[in-house]
């Protein structure tokens, strides 16, 4: 990268000298396609956010979804965060995501480290045991019978344990651990460190980035999980947010009848419009992904972005 900038004086464009000038039509076409692609992703998100912040009057005037923001009316958010079904769901999803990610990470890191040195006792069969999960799936029905047989119906553990281990994440971590130079292990062992100490003091600090990314993938998985809740959770106060979202948007349930919109003292008699509440729920399910996203994105595209710059 630096060598290149030295050799070639910085030009206004990065276009290599041998490439022909772009045609006006081509540039225009490309610009149009890119704009359309960006709009297709961003416009729905924009409409959702704006509508969630709109008052009843604005929504009625627009005939439903609002495109141009008129005001910032946060009452829909006040309502969903002040008790009731949506608040419960947000709590449930947060607990499941945090506890699940912690469990998944600990178990996966331990196993990945345990498998990071070929030649140890039982290495090959144990590795095979993990890799076989790629080929052999448990059926949905036996899984259901096992989980309910363990008495996990209406228990949040049913949303965590069945999906706690991804062999793919384990393989990724193991590959990274194996790339750490062996001298580091040897020197630590010479100083009398046990395996657990080597893992926490040497290996983990060296693999912060990859561990974080694996953790974030687990977290996104837990937050987005929807169907486990249909199978295993019947109680209303233990439903995760995805389930509430499905009930509001796809099953057409009204927030007013489901106990989501309780009367809030101080807001007067005017309850925020149900469309705004629905949109606020949508926003709440998106936000964790948006928070997590920059970290994952930076890690996964760093190589690609640098590598893809034509030189």
């Amino acid at each position: 990268m630096s060598a290149e900038t030295v050799v070639r004086p910085r030009r206004k464009t990065l276009r290599p000298p041998w490439e022909e000038q772009p045609s006006l039509l081509g540039q225009f076409g490309k610009g149009t396609i890119i704009t359309v692609v960006l709009a297709v992703v961003l416009v729905p998100l924009w409409v959702v956010v704006v509508t969630s912040l709109s008052s009843e009057k604005t929504i009625n005037e627009a005939g439903g979804y609002v495109f141009l923001p008129r005001e910032l009316d946060p009452r829909a958010y006040v309502v969903i965060f002040s008790g009731g079904q949506v608040t419960d769901a947000i709590l449930v999803s947060t607990v499941v995501t945090i506890a699940g990610t912690a469990l998944s990470l600990i178990v996966t890191v331990l196993a990945a480290y345990g498998l990071s040195r070929p030649g140890t006792l039982g290495h090959k069969p144990i590795l095979f045991y993990f890799l076989l999960t790629f080929l052999i799936y448990p059926g949905m029905i036996p899984s259901y019978l096992v989980v309910t047989g363990l008495g996990l119906k209406d228990n949040l553990l049913a949303l965590i344990l069945p999906t706690a281990i991804s062999a793919f994440n384990l393989v990724v971590l193991r590959a990274f651990f194996m790339s750490i130079p062996g001298e580091l292990y040897d020197s630590a062992r010479m100083d009398g460190a046990g395996e657990l100490r080597i893992l926490t003091r040497i290996v983990l600090p060296l693999s912060k980035a990859v561990t974080a990314v694996v953790g974030l993938f687990y977290a996104v998985g837990y937050w987005n999980a929807f169907f486990n809740a249909i199978l295993y959770i019947d109680r209303n106060d233990l439903q995760p947010v995805q389930r509430v979202l499905q009930q509001f948007i796809l099953a057409g349930q009204s927030p007013a009848t489901s106990g989501a919109a309780v009367a809030i003292p101080g807001l007067g008699s005017s309850v925020p419009p149900s469309l705004a509440i629905k949109m606020a729920v949508v926003v709440v399910t998106i936000v964790p992904a948006l928070i997590i996203y920059p970290f994952v994105q930076r890690h996964f595209t760093k190589g690609v972005i640098i590598g893809a710059v034509k030189g």
Partner: protein, 332 residues
């Protein structure tokens, strides 16, 4: 010329140090040395045993007339249920609804091979042709984003945009037209689910192609430009051959996965468009087994899918090796 051997030497040295040297140690000595590592694997192995392998073995209830009420818990029920051989499979194979779901699954796979598969490639080529790094990373950030959304969210967003009370219908109403409700029309369901899949994952699917594009030697482009090849000829003779092996590999992997078209996306929309259009193999298993409580038949359908799936994966890997690609597992 002297640099590579040194690098290679270093690498083997590092490898040797990482790998525990295979000395003539007795089992007891190795156990004494390695037990902490073994212990570390135990929690993950236990979790997989209980929630992956036992359910996988539990597929044998496909050969039972499983009745949850003959015992106090699923294990007892399993022990006391009657074994009926291939009875469930006979029922299944004579059931047109089952074959309909297989057919729907396969046609979705075929449809998406044509209308989904090329889009990440085209996007990657388009992105690669953007000169400005800022525009490029903006586009990347935006198109990767929906990959991190749940299916509930994606289907909800489509419902809000295209549904009967959605943004487009609303705009059309204001202009005095009525827009058709795309979300509930079984005839256009194939397009609908494919566009949902494109919206969610086409951007993310681009990553692997971007990496392949980055690996193409820029000197090839320069040389062919010097030889008078225009923009399109360069794409045809350099870019596409550079992507060939990735494309072949992903195509083969997709074929090996032909019975997997996703589950949540369909279970979410099955009510809206009806069973005929939206029943795939996975939803069939769910509705037969858990909703209708014909456990044995559902498990039989699941086992059928698993076995055919394994055969397809093994076959696809054979094909990959024949094309000189790596596949998901190597021959050794």
């Amino acid at each position: 010329m002297s640099a590579p051997p040194i690098v290679a030497e270093k690498r083997t040295a590092a490898k040797k140090a990482t790998a525990v040297p295979r000395q003539q140690l007795s089992f007891g000595q190795r156990l004494r040395r390695d037990w902490p590592l073994l212990l570390m694997c135990v929690p993950a192995m236990l979790l997989l045993l209980v929630f992956h392998y036992i359910p996988a073995l539990g597929n044998v209830i496909a050969f039972q007339d499983y009745n949850p009420f003959v015992g106090d818990n699923p294990l007892e029920a399993f022990l006391y249920s009657e074994w009926i051989g291939f009875g469930n499979f006979e029922y299944l194979f004579e059931n047109p609804a089952f074959w309909d779901s297989v057919l729907t699954t396969l046609s979705i796979t075929a449809f998406q091979l044509v209308f989904y598969f090329p889009i990440p490639i085209l996007l990657a080529i388009l992105l690669n042709s953007i000169m400005s790094p800022r525009v490029r990373s903006l586009v990347q950030s935006v198109v990767y984003l929906p990959h991190f959304f749940s299916w509930v969210l994606v289907v909800s967003l489509f419902q809000m945009m295209l549904g009967g009370a959605g943004l487009i219908a609303q705009t059309a109403r204001e202009a005095g037209y009525t827009a058709p409700d795309i979300m509930t029309n079984p005839d256009t369901f194939m397009f609908l689910i494919t566009s949902q899949a494109v919206w969610k994952d086409a951007g993310w699917g681009m990553i692997v192609f971007l990496a392949a594009l980055a690996a193409i030697d820029p000197a090839l482009y320069e040389a062919s430009a010097a030889d008078g090849a225009g923009r399109w000829r360069r794409m045809w003779h350099i870019t596409l051959p550079g992507l060939r092996s990735v494309i072949v590999l992903l195509l083969i992997l997709r074929l090996g996965d032909a019975l997997n078209v996703g589950f949540e996306q369909f279970v979410l929309q099955r009510e809206m468009v009806g069973r005929e259009a939206a029943e795939v193999l996975d939803t069939y298993v769910y509705y037969q087994g858990i909703a209708v409580q014909q456990w044995g038949v559902g498990a039989a359908a699941g086992l059928f899918k698993a076995v055919v799936g394994i055969l397809l994966i093994v076959g696809a890997n054979k094909l990959a090796h024949r094309f000189g690609e790596q596949g998901i597992y190597s021959k050794s």
